[in-house]
Symmetry: C2
Subunit: 273 residues, 2 copies
């Protein structure tokens, strides 16, 4: 059961006229707290502010969000920060007077899955292809029906994630995580200029790769290239890094770069990044 | 100010964990009531049920919705029926136990704009191109950020609507209405197999055209063809039929088919369709 702060007030509900509900007119980020402190916060806030700007939403101030995250989640847990356009009258248009809604939601406890991190996970390729929409590409908006439909494609609990292609067949991401693969020591993650969501963990892995001198390319890539990869892993803020060990008939062992980033992320979290 | 029934109960708010807010995981329809009776109901309900089915949502029963519409709006007004996947825990996946949320929202009074219907409206072409996503094409889902961004492209109140192309340049719709044009006596409206929203008024115009023996084609069409049209009009459930009289430098007089459908829709409403 989640607890919510809505514009700073404890509440379990939001205005039924909120444009977040009416149109998905808003953005969000999901993060992990340790003793009330948001992990990987710099990447979360940078991307939240970037996404707000992409939708011409005012982004809440950083100290305000940090204070509300600590209020709603004093311990270890998962926190979701949502910013919507706010409540308005009927219609897609909105006036200058519309006030954004700020929702900070907390789920106590961090889902821990040490086996998935250690042994890796089996994934599938989803049938749904992501639509190409540069205006929303990368943005973690509240328009997530594609992810919902893709996640509904399978029920086998042994399959932990579904890889998604765009409408032209390129590899983009997984339903709730970003994907990286490595070939001949070079790390590759799909560019998200046409569709997909830029996760904060993806941002941190890219930053850590640069800091550590690990060659990394952010570019278009196909499933054919993924098949040829030496290793594949998934990232998001809750799971950290999951090595991918099976996709269809293809098998990989958990790879050295997945292990390296698991370690670097752990160190970064311990430093309080 | 709107009034809401949420799962049959008067409320001004919805559960903050509702997937309608979290992911836009739901569908809606906007209709007009006369003395509490939903106009053009058969098309609204058919499309609501079709959209629910497209998202594997259970559609509320017709008598229940009609009773709630009459409860929330005894007079003339605008009513929005929303069906979401319901409240769930974190994550795109959902179990069989998730209960859909049914929201019936009422705005008293029907926005009347007799001049727009009589004299026609000026429209623009939006810069945003609709993404091609056959899985959601036609569905009036709660993922409407494209419409919000397109409507935000202009502020000039003399421009009443914005026409939208898909990513490959085809004519699709306007931000909050469907588009028809006529050439040599044949009515054309874009097929909505790749993107766009199938409005209930569009459904009624197509049904009326068939009943009246007016030749009508539902197919792909481009802006070049629109420019060559003898007349153009927009439809939605609140505005009825608006003749388009200006797009850029192109001018049209309000056309005979727009007038004919205004009359046919008025008669259909009076009969209580």
């Amino acid at each position: 059961m989640a607890s919510f702060l809505v514009n700073g007030w404890p509440a379990q509900s939001v205005d039924a006229a909120d444009r977040g509900l009416m149109y998905g007119d808003g953005v969000f980020r999901t993060l992990v707290t340790r003793a009330g402190r948001a992990l990987n916060w710099s990447h979360h806030y940078r991307l939240l502010a970037r996404d707000c700007s992409r939708l011409a939403l005012a982004c809440p101030a950083e100290p305000l969000l940090l204070a509300e995250i600590a209020r709603v989640m004093a311990d270890d847990g998962v926190v979701k920060v949502i910013v919507t356009r706010g409540a308005s009258g009927r219609g897609y248009g909105f006036g200058d007077d519309v006030e954004p809604t700020r929702i900070v939601a907390a789920w106590p406890g961090v889902p821990s899955d040490p086996l998935a991190g250690r042994d890796g996970v089996r994934v599938r390729r989803c049938g749904l292809a992501l639509a190409i929409q540069p205006r929303l590409a990368g943005v973690k908006s509240l328009n997530r029906l594609e992810n919902v439909l893709a996640r509904a494609e399978w029920r086998d609990p042994a399959v932990r994630e579904g890889l998604l292609a765009d409408a032209e067949g390129r590899l983009v991401e997984a339903t709730a995580s970003n994907v990286f693969f490595a070939r001949a020591g070079v790390l590759v993650t799909p560019a998200l200029a046409r569709c997909g969501v830029e996760g904060a963990q993806r941002g941190r892995v890219l930053a850590l790769a640069q800091a550590e001198g690990i060659a990394c390319e952010v570019r278009d890539a196909g499933f054919d290239e993924l098949e040829l990869a030496d290793e594949v892993f998934l990232t998001n803020s809750v799971i950290g890094v999951w090595p991918v060990v099976a996709l269809g008939e293809r098998r990989w062992p958990p790879g050295p770069l997945a292990r390296r980033f698991q370690q670097l992320i752990g160190e970064d979290d311990a430093r309080g990044a």
